[in-house]
Amino acid sequence: MSVDVLGPLLPLVPLLAGLLGLLLPPGDGNGARRRLAAGIGVGGAALALLFSLRLLFAGTEPFQTGVDLVTFGDLTVSFGVAIGPAVVYVALAVSVVALLVQIYSITYLHDDPRYASYAAQVSLFTGAMLLVVTANDLIVMLVGWEVMGACSYLLIGHDRRLPEAPAAAVKAFLVTRVGDVGFLLGIALLIVEAGSPSLETVLLHDYPAGTLTAALLLLLAGVAGKSAQFPLHTWLPDAMAGPTPISALIHAATMVAAGVYVVFRTYPLFEQSPVALAVLGVMAAVTILLGALSATAQDDLKRVLAWSTVSQIGYMTGALAVGSPAAALFHLLTHAAFKALLFLAAGAVIHAVGTNHLSRMGGLRVHMPVTFWSFVIGLGALAGLPPLAGFWSKETVLTAAAHATEGGEPVPVWAGWVVWLAALFAVGITAWYAMRLLLRTFFGVSRAHGPDGPDWEIGFDDARFQRPPAPHDPPAAMLVPLLVLCIPSALLGLAAYAPGFRTALELEDPHLGVAVALPMVLLVLGAGSAWWIWWAVPGIDPAMALGRARPLLAAGFRLDDVQHRLVVVPVRALARLVTAADVRVVDGAVMGAGTTTSHLGRLLAAGHRVALPVAAVAVCAGALLLGLVAWWGAAA
């Protein structure tokens, strides 16, 4: 198949697989239907992966192809793909993660009656992300962008037994949708000014500075929503209510990466706007620290990972802000690998112990060695432990930020400093909470039997879970994806030395100078202090050391409450007000007109409840009055 056809097929195949899967009737159908659903889901993802690989090996000549969808006025929307090296790598990451998630889910959701729609939604999700990745048209990109939001909604709300799942799903969709208000307006500004929604045209168009900055800032709102950047990050920790494989999908390669990716695609525009970059930088810095600090105090395994995602995405946006899209993309790819690994491994843990809570875990190293080592690799990469993948990409980001502090980049120097300091500081924190996570989960003694009784009821995902007598590594279908993901998590960083990869990302040569020492010191300090606390008082949660800050951090600086107060409550109040006004004033006027007319009718009818002479009076009086009118009229 020629690449011209493969390009469009890349997003279309998973999308079609998704639609096809949705058509399956509900229920398990004695497993046959389930197998069919799994086949479709895995097949879609596998085909996507195949196409990505084919494109990767077909050559690196960028090309684009498309077909006009519709013309609105002077804007012609076309379903087009632009395939370039960077695109292919991201697509590859997406396909790999999607495929692994699909495979993993078969087992993970082995007794969920609604598995079919789940698998279909994952396919749709994958297709939507691939659409964003490959789209050559801002409108089409918006299509993928929002379909992803909708799929995330469906998947996060998938769990029927978690009471918080529907709310989390709604929150995820709504918060991102609020960001999308800006995104849509930003796109609208860009394409209206350029006269075409084609990405190529937009990138080449010469915008007035004001319009451009406005448009980019608006775009950033959407990016913040999708990529969970401060202040629109609040949906992400709650989104942990979704099944764990979904978390892997959302956090690793798809949804949260989309924002970063879009900025990457439109980077030529961002380069022209220091203001936008500065805003992006501040946003990134706040997000990095916010995510990292919040991660320290979580008791929920997935929430730790979620906050770490927030923080890590902050690194990517930080990289973008300081003028190194390549670093951002590099970190995106490595992060995709190790975060997917971490979530899938976390799923294995949860699957084994039946809880998300760190306080109920401990000592799992013995029972789940493979999972343990996967975690070690994943957390090491997250913390930036050399030579794991995260080390290289994070190092690139730090280097870029440090470079920006010297000026010469489009971003203001102070913003470079902010990003650099935040990123640096977060290295230590990351190491701290990674270490804490590892210790709390896998070391020490099992806390499975809590003080409240021998066992506890907790709904998780859709699996009707029965606590196994002893935790153990997951079955092969779940284990294989873990093992597969361990490879890029460990080695992808070294790809920076592969020239093909490097040119594809336009990455600079990796050079490990003395600058590397500072983060390494911080990393050791962070990890060491966590270990030290744990070691000093065996069994203690290192988070105890946080003292009174702990609840604040656990609550993510209570930004949820702020958001509730500042947005939800006023909107609700406004809705109440408008509804009341609609009933009392708008409809009241209508009904009032009706009643008034009716009353008038009653009055007049009462006036006619009289005897004959009154009619005669009326006749004569009417004649007299009208005669006078006529006289006056004739005399005038």
Binding site: T597, L604, L612, G622, L626, G627, V629, A630, G633, A634
Partner: protein
């Protein structure tokens, strides 16, 4: 001018109408069979209609040397004559069951109705005020009698509404006639003209107030016939008290006569202000009061008051609105006749119109009558499927807007909205679910059914080919 050539052919409608009346009387005397009297009268009305159509437009007769005539055959007059004949035939058919039961003496009834028709025909053709007023009186005077003409079977409770109605109708009518005559007298005193075609001539400056007041009083006196507010109070009481077929005649033929007379006057005299005031008052009061009615005939009466207001609105334009007013009146009388016909068909013979509540579920028991009523009410409201009514309203509004009386058109349309409220109330009562247990459906008397079919056919025909009427009127 001792003698003049009289074009008797042109007078054919008059002769036929008057002949119908006389023939009815004679048939009653010599044959004394109700069916025969009825048949003769109905045939007479058909002959009158045919005569009017065959005469069509002609040069006038009974002319003065100044070439103004008292008898002016025109197409609008012919159309009016046809309408009068048709309405008379319809009302006769509606009355047939009652006459068969001897509720009124058939011979006199037919004669009086035919006399009234003669008056109506004369109004349409008249070319001078004297003929007009005499024609109008001939139209009205038999109705005083018909309203009160009610014979009670032995043992049947005697109701006095018809007598009250007759007194009301008569007294208000004579007062109005006096006012109209005063108007005519003042007009004559101011201009010396009684022929319609000469009325428009300007009065000497000193006499202008006289002429103006005269014209206004003439209009007011004639407005009584169409039950314009404030000369309307008789209408609901009279319609409700009168036998339902007579009420039908009152609200259609009698009203049509009033419209013709008014049209003759306002198209020559400048009475825009007075007519406009009457129009606004009439439609507004009529519709508002109709909202609160619970008796069927009273509701129809008030609605017909309101409908007169729309006609007056067109007449406020003077000569420019005459076609629209006549068209509206023509559409209106057909639809109103259907509505009354449904009432006649649904009520026991000789009964009054009853309460609206008495008709609950009637449309489901009698689908055809229900459909006819829906057609009529929708038409009166100016909505499809009553296309005739829609075109009626359209013609009035079009005329008003064309002559820059948009505000009056607005009032008309606002009133159309109010009116729909009570029309749908009646319609909804006809189709209420669950259907209340009522008397088993009675079969509709054949003459009533035939008349209804005829009227519905005319309404549908006019709905799809209103141009027939417009061509006839202009």
């Amino acid at each position: 001018m001792s003698s003049q050539l009289i074009d008797h052919f042109a007078l054919l409608p008059l002769y036929l109408a008057a002949g119908t009346a006389v023939l009815a009387l004679l048939t009653d005397l010599f044959v004394a069979r109700r069916a025969a009297v009825l048949a003769v009268t109905v045939l007479g009305t058909f002959a009158t209609a045919a005569g009017a159509l065959s005469v069509g437009a002609e040069t006038g007769t009974f002319c003065t040397p100044h070439n103004v005539c008292s008898w002016v055959p025109t197409w609008p007059a012919a159309v009016a004559a046809v309408l009068f004949a048709g309405l008379t035939a319809g009302v006769l058919a509606f009355s047939a069951p009652a006459l068969r039961r001897g509720i009124a003496p058939a011979g006199e009834f037919c004669f009086l109705l035919a006399c009234s028709m003669t008056g109506g025909v004369v109004v349409g053709y008249s070319g001078d005020l004297i003929t007009l007023i005499v024609g109008l009186e001939t139209l009205t005077l038999p109705l005083y009698v018909l309203v009160g003409l009610r014979r009670f079977a032995p043992g049947e409770p005697v109701r006095t509404e018809s007598a009250s109605a007759a007194v009301t109708f008569f007294l208000i009518s004579v007062v109005s006639t006096a006012i109209a005559l005063l108007g005519a007298a003042l007009t004559y005193a101011a201009t010396g003209a009684v022929h319609l075609d000469l009325l428009g001539a300007p009065a000497p400056a000193a006499f202008e107030p006289l002429a103006g007041v005269g014209a206004a009083l003439l209009v007011i006196g004639l407005a009584f016939k169409v039950a314009a507010v404030p000369l309307h109070a008789w209408a609901p009481a009279t319609y409700d008290g009168a036998p339902v077929p007579v009420a039908a005649y009152l609200s259609t033929a009698s009203k049509l006569g009033g419209v013709l007379a008014l049209a003759a006057v306002v198209s020559r005299l400048d009475t825009a202000a007075v007519v406009a005031v009457l129009a606004v008052l009439t439609m507004t009061v009529g519709n508002l009061v109709a909202l609160r009615q619970s008796r069927m005939v009273r509701l129809l009466a008030w609605s017909s008051v309101a409908q007169a207001g729309y006609i007056l609105a067109a007449l406020a334009l003077g000569a420019d609105g005459v076609v629209a007013a006549l068209a509206y009146a023509a559409f209106f009388v057909v639809l109103e006749l259907i509505a009354f016909g449904v009432v006649v068909a649904l009520r026991p013979t000789g009964a009054d119109g009853g309460e609206i509540a008495d008709y609950r579920g009637a449309g489901r028991r009698h689908p055809w009558l229900g459909a006819a009523l829906v057609l009529a009410l929708a038409g009166l409201a100016g909505l499809p499927p009553g296309l005739a009514g829609l075109f009626a309203k359209l013609s009035v509004v079009e005329a008003l807007v064309r002559e820059n009386w948009t505000w009056l058109a607005g009032v008309v349309l606002l009133n159309a909205v109010i009116a729909l409220a009570y029309y749908v109330r009646v319609g909804a009562a006809f189709y209420v679910v669950p259907v209340p247990a009522g008397p088993a459906p009675r079969s509709v008397a054949r003459p009533v059914a035939l008349a209804l079919i005829g009227a519905v056919a005319v309404a549908v025909l006019l709905g799809f080919a209103p141009q027939l009427l417009f061509s006839g009127l202009s």
